[in-house]
Amino acid sequence: MVLVVLPSLLATQAGGQGRFEVDAATVEHALQQLPVADLLFDEAGELRRLVNVYVDGKDARDLGGLHAPVGDAREVRVIAAVAGG
């Protein structure tokens, strides 16, 4: 099991829950189980451009992206990129 931690805006959209224990092999598998998966992924199943994911503090892009293995990691954390206005 891995702990997925969401930023507060997504937690509000998930009914007030910001931490989820999920059983997952990959980053994608972990995120797709969340009740806010439609906000993280677009209709083509691609992770939205400004959504960053960290596995035990390491950028998932450097670990293989969505296919990065969760393995025995403790935490998958979603953080919105620095952008906007």
Partner: protein, 353 residues
């Protein structure tokens, strides 16, 4: 009376008493979301919004408890074979049948829900319109921002898309005809400035008591049609300082009355000469009079295309990019500021609560 004010930073509600003279501000609700449009569905009292976030995309959300909690419609998107992706949601229009809700979005697409907004189905006939390759996005994207249902014919409705133009269906959405004859597209050189499609409609409204009459505020002028959009008459001059502007309001009691808030022009999108002014016609657009009593001056304001609304008894309301909400209950004789210093206002809708 309830005013739903969608802003760049959430939704605000202005609760008014029956005299529309005392108002209380509630909000922000739905924090973190840009609320492009919010309505109160007269059928069940639910609040429905087109809410967008720069990270998490475009959504439709619905609240049954006055905005305290929200339910998002999951799976609003475009099919893979279109090669397109949903960008932003723009306009919510409660439908005719039980549970029917229409949703306009970018890039130039229309969705229909049959289950009260739990799910939405793409209207393929708009996506696959034979003129689509001639459509262009305006500065706000290729937004489907106007959806009007004809109360006299349940098979007829209208949509408007920037910059594609106005379209009408007479067969319940199976097919759509371009309704742009006589409407200029001056961003094309002559003689190509009156094309079949490609016009930049900024707002399209149907008069609820005389539904064959349509009004539009366009990038290139203010127009009226008395034949369901088959032909349009350009109305500016006669008191209007500019044909450019975004929002439009009507008086449901009198089809000859309309209100616009002009801007100087496409190259300088602020109020002309720093005067925040509403212009009102009472003769179908033949002449226009400035209504600015009670409005600040000078004010280089701007009112977005969804930022103007009206109620059933002649009340008219608008919200500015600088965060003020103004109202008149005497046909524009004077305006009162109901709220100030809100985030930039994107939409205002009036509803009897």
């Amino acid at each position: 009376m309830l005013l739903l004010c969608g802003t760049r930073k959430g939704l605000f509600l202005l609760h008014g008493d029956d005299t529309r003279s005392r108002w209380e501000l509630e909000g922000p609700l739905l924090t973190g979301w840009s609320v492009y449009h919010a309505v109160r569905d007269p059928r069940d009292g639910s609040v429905q919004v087109a809410a967008n976030n720069f990270v998490y995309g475009g959504t439709f959300q619905r609240s049954e408890d006055g905005g305290k909690t929200w339910k998002r419609s999951e799976g609003v998107g475009l099919p893979e074979d279109s090669g397109l992706k949903l960008e932003e949601t723009w306009h919510v229009e409660p439908g005719r049948e039980d549970g029917e809700i229409w949703l306009g979005a970018t890039p130039g697409v229309l969705f229909r829900s049959a289950d009260g907004g739990e799910s939405f189905e793409l209207v393929r006939s708009v996506l696959e319109h034979p003129t689509r390759e001639k459509w262009q996005p305006g500065a706000g994207g290729m937004c489907c921002h106007s959806i009007q249902l004809d109360p006299s014919d349940e098979r007829r409705m209208y949509i408007a898309i920037s910059a594609a133009g106005a379209f009408r269906t007479d067969d319940g959405g199976e097919s759509w005809t371009a309704q742009n004859q006589g409407v200029a597209a001056d961003f094309f050189p002559e003689p190509d400035n009156f094309p079949e499609v490609g016009q930049c409609v900024h707002k399209l409204l149907l008069h609820p008591e005389r539904p064959d009459r349509l009004w539009q505020q366009n990038h290139c002028g203010v127009y009226r049609s008395d034949d369901r959009g088959d032909t349009w008459e350009r109305l500016e001059g006669n008191g209007l300082p500019s044909g450019f502007g975004f929002p439009l309001a009507l008086d449901p009691r009198d089809p000859d009355v309309a209100y616009v808030i002009p801007e100087e022009g496409a190259e300088n999108r602020v109020t002309p000469d720093g005067r925040l002014g509403v212009y009102r016609t009472a003769d179908g657009g033949a002449s226009w009079e400035l209504s600015s009593e009670g409005l600040p001056e000078p004010a280089w304001g701007a009112v977005m295309r969804e930022g103007f609304s009206f109620d059933a008894e002649g009340g008219v309301y608008f919200g500015t990019q600088s965060g003020s909400v103004f109202a008149t209950t005497d046909g524009g004789g004077s305006w009162t500021e109901l709220a100030r210093q809100l985030p930039p206002i994107l939409s205002v809708e009036a509803a009897w609560s």
